[in-house]
Symmetry: C2
DNA sequence: CTTCCGGAGTTCCTTGAAGAGACTCCGAGA
DNA sequence: TCTCGGAGTCTCTTCAAGGAACTCCGGAAG
């Protein structure tokens, strides 16, 4: 719905939501990431309506997180993650970690992630990109940045 | 909008979206995180409608990520993050990192984060919780987990 | 050459959520 | 008793999501 335009806000969270905040968009990204890349595959896998899928794909392509790639001499396309889109998968992995922890229930997580570097089934953890120590909600102070608006309450 | 119930899907991303996937929810969480905790403060800061703010707050309280805390003998409440909600801030921090990198524009990021442990202005990075090495989209294999549905295409 | 097929949309209608603003409720203080 | 201010509730309009039918188009089949 979201008639309010988050992209104009002076807030990196709102700007990120402007790209993938609409319903279905994260799930589309997930599918493309794991190899569900064609229109009718996405349709069948997600149970989304054709109209909404078209809109979301166009928006994600416009935003530069997906690219449309022909796979036939007929006009047939696959969708693939761009570098910008691949970095959004970080977001999906954190969602997975949270959902696994708080919403998996009795059955346990539906999917496991094996880390190439160590070969273990694992999950992501947030670290400071400077010192490498854990970095979570209570480990930071907020300071106004160069792009802060004059308005109160950015982020 | 999202009449489709993401919470029923066999997918931790969809289940997480069931909690904070609606428009405004991540921004409400951000505000509560940084200290904007009262109804009319949130209203003014976000520019959200009263009706939607009421709905979102109720949902977030029902889901156990926010708690309502009286701050007066009159029926006045503040909203605070629960432990479950504090862990959702990880998600916000990753959104910030992505938004800062790809959408901040000329002006630079609107807010900076100083890490307590090292004192530096920094951002989050994703690491494997087992070996500590970087863990991103291309560093993992997916395996079916114990909670996988019989259906194809979970995650 | 004509017909059929299948992937990828496009169009149309109905339902219901978001936005905006007015109204209500209630305890405290003047 | 009257007023005030925080925290909602109600109502109305607009526009997005869901669903289904329809279109377009190039290749294959006959």
């Amino acid at each position: 719905m979201q008639r309010t335009n988050f992209g104009e806000m002076s807030c990196s969270i709102a700007r990120t939501l402007d790209v993938i905040g609409e319903p279905w968009s994260p799930l589309i990204l997930r599918d493309v990431w794991v190899g569900v890349t064609r229109f009718d595959q996405l349709l069948a896998d997600l149970g989304i309506s054709r109209k909404v899928l078209t809109e979301r794909l166009n928006h994600l392509v416009d935003q530069g997180v997906l690219e449309r790639r022909p796979y036939d001499r007929r006009p047939r396309y696959e969708y693939h993650l761009t570098p910008k889109g691949i970095e959004l998968v970080d977001l999906l992995m954190v969602m997975v970690a949270w959902g696994d922890k708080w919403r998996a229930g009795e059955a346990g997580p539906p999917v496991l992630y094996r880390h190439h570097a160590c070969g273990e089934v694992s999950s992501v953890d947030l670290r400071c990109s400077r010192c490498g120590e854990p970095m979570h909600a209570n480990d930071v102070d907020l300071l106004p940045g160069p792009g802060a608006s004059v308005e109160p309450r950015p982020v």
